[in-house]
Every structure is written in C-alpha cells, then in structure tokens.
C-alpha cells in the first residue's frame, strides 16, 4: 500500500519535451488558422477549435503532467474529473437542448 507509485518521477529527456512543445505550438498555429478562416469553415469551426484545444490538453496531461507512466490511481482521478464533467454537461444540456420542444 505504501509503495504504490514509488517509481513515478520525471524521466529526463529534453528532446521529447521539445518535440511535444513543438507539436502544441503547431496546434496553436492551427487554431489561429481555423479562426481566421472560420467564415468559410462554417459550423464545424467550433468543433475543430475544441478538438485542437482537447489535443493540446491531452498532450500536456500525458507528457508534461506525466500521466504517461503514472499509476492507475492517477488515471482514475483524471478519469473521474472527466466523468463528472460529462455528467454535468449531459444532464444540463439535456435541458437546454430539449426545452424548446416541450416545457411549461
């Protein structure tokens, strides 16, 4: 019990950090491009934007925050955060998406 997670610690590899850094930089650029052209992209722009932000966040979490190589518990905690966010979004938007169909 006490020694779970014992080995976790940073694994130094500057090159890989720079690689991820470059990737996220590229994504920032992509986001700017999407936004500048969102008039022609239309309704999909918001999904593209969120996709890019999600990818940036995943890269950060997986590499910079060391989810890679973290123990199950850390994954569980991160997963719980997403799960509860999902609860909130699904049940709340259920109202906002259907209220005009039927409400008092």
């Amino acid at each position: 019990m006490h020694n779970e997670d014992a080995g976790a610690g940073p694994e130094p590899s500057n090159a890989s950090y720079f690689l991820i850094y470059g990737l996220i930089l590229a994504l920032i650029g992509a986001q700017v491009l999407v936004s500048m052209n969102s008039a022609s992209i239309g309704g999909a722009a918001i999904y593209l934007n969120l996709l890019i932000a999600g990818a940036q966040a995943c890269l950060l979490a997986y590499f910079f925050m060391h989810l890679k190589g973290a123990d199950n518990l850390t994954w569980l905690i991160a997963g719980a955060g997403l799960f509860w966010i999902a609860i909130m979004f699904i049940l709340m938007l259920n109202d906002y998406l259907t209220r005009q169909i039927a409400a008092y």
Partner: protein, 235 residues
C-alpha cells in the same frame, strides 16, 4: 515535525515514497476540483452558446486573436521551463532550478501584462456589459450595442458573451496569480537551500501540475472565447 535526520520526511509518513505519492495525489485531486470549477463556467457558456450562436460568434470576433496566440505561446513555454525545473530539482541542481523558476515567472508576468493591455483595449472600445456597452465609444462612433444591433445580432446576448469572457478570463488570471505566487515561493525556498535534498523535487512537480493545468484551461478559453468567431486579422 520530523523523525529522520534530514528533516525531509514528515513525522506521520512511513517513508519518502509514501510522502511523495500523497503529495502528488493531493494535487491531482485538487486539479479535479479545478476541472469542475472551470467546468461549471464552461457548461453555462455552452448552454447559452447553444441558444445564441450568432451573438457569441459576433462577440468573439471583437476579441484580439493575436494576443491570445502570443499568450498561448508564452504559457506553453512556461510549462516547458517549469518542467525543466523539476528535472533540475531532481538532479539537486539548485542553480538551474532557480533559473527555470525565474524564467517561468517572467513568462507568466508577460502574459499578465498582455492580458492587462487587452482588457484596457476592450475598455476603450466599451466592450463591457452594462451602461458602457450602450454608450457611444466617442463622438460619431456608435456604441457596441448599436453596432451589434446593426449586424442583426441581439446586443443583450453579446453582453452575455462578454460576461463569460470577463468571468472566465478573470478566473484564469486569478489562477495565474496564485501560480506565480506558488512558483515565487518555490524560488524563495530554493534561495534558502530547501531543495538541497533532491527528494523535495516533488514539490516542484506538484506545483508544475497546477501550472500545466492553468495552461490547459487557457487553451480551452482560447478555443471557446477567442477563436470561436471569425477573425479577419490577428490584431
């Protein structure tokens, strides 16, 4: 407080791994609460975004995409430098640790400076919900409300967008300030030789977790606030 000679291990832990993993887990749990905190604002935003898409896109177009992009790069770079800081602490290299922490703080301060400049520009353009929003910017120049009205967009809904813009970026700025405070505290500790014991790298690590999280939230704010609407130019 401590039973071992170095003072690194607190009295109530059995070993250093237990102590480190507890610190890490504590920070992860705290970040989950932060996810829910920002999540509450995000879900509110989404509800209105579903109801009033045009107004939200129109409001977004008024924001300065270039500043957001620069700030993204700054924050990302600071994430990188604090990560290098962990490695320095892990090696017991206090000198490098201090340098990386200082760079991180500097990048954060530049970010905050740009944000302040941006708020100032918004203020000048009267992009602030309330009476300012319906007041002409200057003689002969229409108020934002009139401008949006002319575009066929409900100015009330645009004001809602700006409420989200100020609340969400404001919350984010507060998190940045807290983060700068934490990193400043680490820097102070480093000057006092606290990190001579490399086991204490974990405190840099948990602070970096928080910092990365603040970075992550910024990316989402850029996506839903700045990049959401069409922009003709960066500035």
């Amino acid at each position: 407080m401590s039973t071992d000679s170095s003072g690194v291990l607190c009295h109530h832990f059995d070993n250093i791994q237990q102590q480190q993993s507890a610190a890490r887990m504590g920070m992860w749990l705290f970040l989950v609460t932060e996810v829910l905190f920002f999540g509450g604002a995000f879900v509110a935003y989404t509800a209105y975004r579903i109801w009033y898409p045009e107004a939200f896109l129109a409001g977004s177009s008024k924001l300065i995409l270039g500043f957001a992009a620069i700030n993204s790069v700054l924050l990302l770079t600071s994430s990188l430098t604090i990560t290098f800081g962990i490695h320095a602490a892990h090696r017991g290299d206090e000198k490098m640790l201090k340098r990386f922490l200082l760079v991180t703080i500097l990048l954060a301060l530049v970010f905050l400076g740009i944000k302040a400049k941006e708020y100032y520009i918004d203020f000048q353009e009267h992009l602030i919900p309330g009476t300012l929003f319906i007041t002409p910017v200057h003689e002969g120049h229409p108020s934002p409300a009139e401008e949006f009205e002319a575009m066929g967009v409900n100015p009330g809904h645009v004001q809602l967008f700006f409420m989200f813009y100020y609340c969400m970026t404001g919350i984010h700025v507060l998190h940045m300030i807290v983060g700068v405070g934490l990193i400043g505290w680490l820097y102070f500790l480093a000057t006092r030789g606290y990190f001579k014991h490399k086991e204490r790298f974990v405190y840099v690590e948990v602070t970096s977790l928080y910092w990365h999280f603040v970075d992550m939230m910024w990316f989402f704010l850029v996506a839903i606030l700045y990049a959401a609407g069409p922009h003709k130019s960066l500035f």
